[in-house]
Symmetry: C2
Subunit: 450 residues, 2 copies
């Protein structure tokens, strides 16, 4: 029987990074994957959606480019080609992960892992032993028990990535990140999209002013807030609106995107402490069983690909490394790749209020910015908000809504991690012209002195 320093189950952005880092340290590592390398992120999540969204954004630019000098006739969106491009991207990245595993001498086994005990995993007829075990089994779309949710035109995010024709109408149930990204995508390629959200606002990780502007800027999408879906039928979606009135919405396709649930089925023999949100872990990602770690969506702490990767690094550092790292959740950025984009890092005003943290906050309009104006004009909307501690002036949150948000936000993670103060950011030189300058502008709005 083969024995390993580490067995990792699940090859998403948690699992494969854990395997890679441990392999790079010279450890003997086994990585088990029941589907494709890369997990949901590479195959059914982050990557395919970004591939499709990029094409749809270019399509939209081509349709709307006349004012900036771009004239086109007969602009069409070819779904088949977009899907082929997406598939090529996915397969290239999958291949890249395979290469990474090989170059770090990680052994990879494809098949469903059966957990025998905290040191033993079986795949088919073969048994593997490991000193340490990392559970990185991810999450799955949660389908609520709504009548009709098993009808064939009701899809989860997995299935909607394989549509073969552009639907005329789409109802998105749930206005979180996944719902909003798909709403944006289908809206851009010509589908009439309605989003039904049970809460009073979409995108709960944003402050209300941002979510409101996001809805306003996603002009083609009809948002219905405070609405409870009662039933899905072959004709459409029946819901109770915010005023308690019954409504029906005809819809060719329905996307069920109300959330995701951790994949904890099958972990029973490990005797892990599991709560409703997932496997319980400490800040080293260790479970109640000392040699078993749980990283990524399965522990329910932060359902983001890059959180999973960071958890992988922290877990490996604690298992095999020389630095005793702890997982910190205060500077994890998020991004929504819709049109417009949004991204944030750190505290929102709402979170600060809920946690009783005394903060000051300033928001600047993107249309005061040279590059934004040069590219989008004075009628487009966008926001930048910076939040700082009243007491220490340390930056606690940065929130962006508008172009380049997803690529600017890493700097916010850096300044929050480094605990820079307002004054420190004011002394950073931002390139001109760039949308990023608005972060400095917001800091000057917080403190006009030099």
């Amino acid at each position: 029987m083969e024995t390993y320093d580490l067995i990792v189950v699940g090859s998403g952005p948690g699992g494969y990074v854990a395997a890679e880092r441990a392999g790079a340290l010279g450890k003997k590592v086994l990585l088990i994957e029941k589907g494709f390398l890369g997990g949901v992120c590479t195959n059914l999540g982050c990557i395919p959606t970004k591939s499709l969204l990029h094409g749809a954004k270019q399509y939209k630019h081509a349709l709307e480019g006349e004012k900036i000098g771009l004239e086109t006739k007969e602009v069409t969106y070819n779904l088949e080609k977009a899907m082929a491009w997406k598939q090529d991207t996915v397969e290239t990245l999958r291949g890249g992960i395979g290469f990474l595993m090989k170059s770090n001498k990680v052994e990879t086994v494809f098949g469903e892992a059966e957990f025998v005990d905290a040191h033993t995993v079986q795949v088919g007829e073969t048994t593997y032993k490991g000193d340490y075990l990392i559970v990185a089994t991810g999450s799955s779309p949660f389908v609520p028990p709504i009548p009709g949710s098993n009808l064939p035109h009701v899809l989860t995010s997995d299935a909607i990535l394989a549509v073969e024709k552009i639907p005329e109408t789409l109802t998105v149930i749930g206005g979180g990140v996944i719902g909003v990204e798909f709403a944006s995508y289908f809206s851009m390629i010509g589908t009439k999209v309605t989003v039904i959200e049970m809460m009073e606002e979409i995108l709960p990780m944003m402050d209300g002013d941002f979510a409101k502007m996001m809805r306003r800027e996603m002009k083609g999408v009809d948002f219905r807030l405070g609405c409870k879906v009662e039933e899905v039928t072959s004709e459409g979606v029946a819901y109770t609106d915010a005023k308690g009135k019954k409504q029906t919405l005809a819809s060719e396709l329905v996307l069920m995107s109300v959330g995701r649930k951790p994949n904890v089925a099958g972990l029973e023999n490990l005797k892990l402490d599991i709560a409703r949100g997932g496997v319980l872990v400490n800040d080293r990602l260790q479970t109640n069983v000392a040699n078993v770690y749980a990283i990524g969506d399965v522990n329910g702490k932060s359902l983001l690909a890059h959180s999973a990767s960071r958890m992988a690094e922290v877990a490996i550092a604690n298992i095999f490394g020389t630095t005793k790292q702890r997982m910190r959740y205060n500077a994890i950025p998020w991004a929504v790749y819709s049109s417009p984009e949004a991204a944030g890092c750190g505290l929102t005003e709402t979170e600060a209020a809920n946690q009783g943290i005394s903060i000051k906050s300033e928001t600047v309009q993107m249309r005061s910015n040279g590059r934004f104006l040069a590219e989008h004009g004075k009628r487009a909307g966008g926001l930048v908000k910076v939040i700082a501690s009243t007491e220490t002036n340390v930056i606690l949150g940065v929130h962006l809504l508008g172009p380049y948000s997803s690529e600017m936000i890493w700097g916010a993670a850096a300044i929050i991690e480094a605990e820079l103060r307002i004054q420190d950011v004011k002394e950073i030189v931002f390139p001109h012209p760039s949308v990023s300058e608005l972060i400095k502008d917001a800091c000057f709005a917080l403190d006009h002195t030099l």
Copy 2:
């Protein structure tokens, strides 16, 4: 006669920021401008070029979008509309600066400033007195004494922004930032562009590997390196190539972009120390005359709009502020808004070698990145390089070539300013999928441990 706490001459990104910051501190400020508010940057530089480049990039995407699902017929670039959009952007921003001056109670006078002495400036018949004087007169395109450089089809960057038709052919003399941006622009909109550069490589602020890839990725542009222009005639450009052979290049338009020279004419009465590169200043931007400061291009220290703005802040902090700031040049980012984009901050390998600084450096290919692949495919090129001190592991330079470079680079300025080490950046969580993740990847390449 009116007296002021501060007189600022020149309303570019140095001058108007100085006036704004001093006004915000409650000082009585006069701003003198001979042309339009915003100076070269707003009217003839950063802003109009970015406006045009954005439209040209969208045009290129529309032409090349088929593989990602975007099908178009009869795509044309309408120069007149692009120029109108550019003009609207410029005028909006100019208006914005005017508003900023008003809201900070800065008095603005239009006209040519005559410097009478270190406290006195005259505009037409009116004399103004100031306790402090900030010279922010900027720079102008340098036209070398090449025979024929005064011919009507030989343009500087100022004039080429007003072309009324797309030229068939364009020869760009000088492969610096301005030359490369215009080469990229005209190449994208259909002009056959040749760049003639006297040095052995373009873009001297980049390491050679980056400049080489930039040339490779600017597929439509013909770069001729190590070539010395001898004469411009009405038919074309005569030059001696790298092998000493005489060559002639037919060209409808010629762009002269070999550099810029500080506007020091007229400063004589101030009795400032002036060298070839501009007005001499200390690290507080003070000249040899104690109440006179010189900021922006006119001091020749760093000919970038954002450097000028930062100098404005440092000067005002020293004149009126409570913090005794010093100008630092080690973390000033630069960006080239060509297609592809490039940006950098801090030391290059070449600079480190020249300065005898012991560094380590790692470069990663953008095509290993999920978002880059999803948007540009596996055949596109892009690079990320991170440079750190061998001794301390502190990050000293970050260099980017590829999409989003100009909007990602501010984070590099932040980490260099904060003196983060490799390990610190490895612990920052970067959003996935984003091109910015490559910065972390390069840090892991520098140090595989956790």
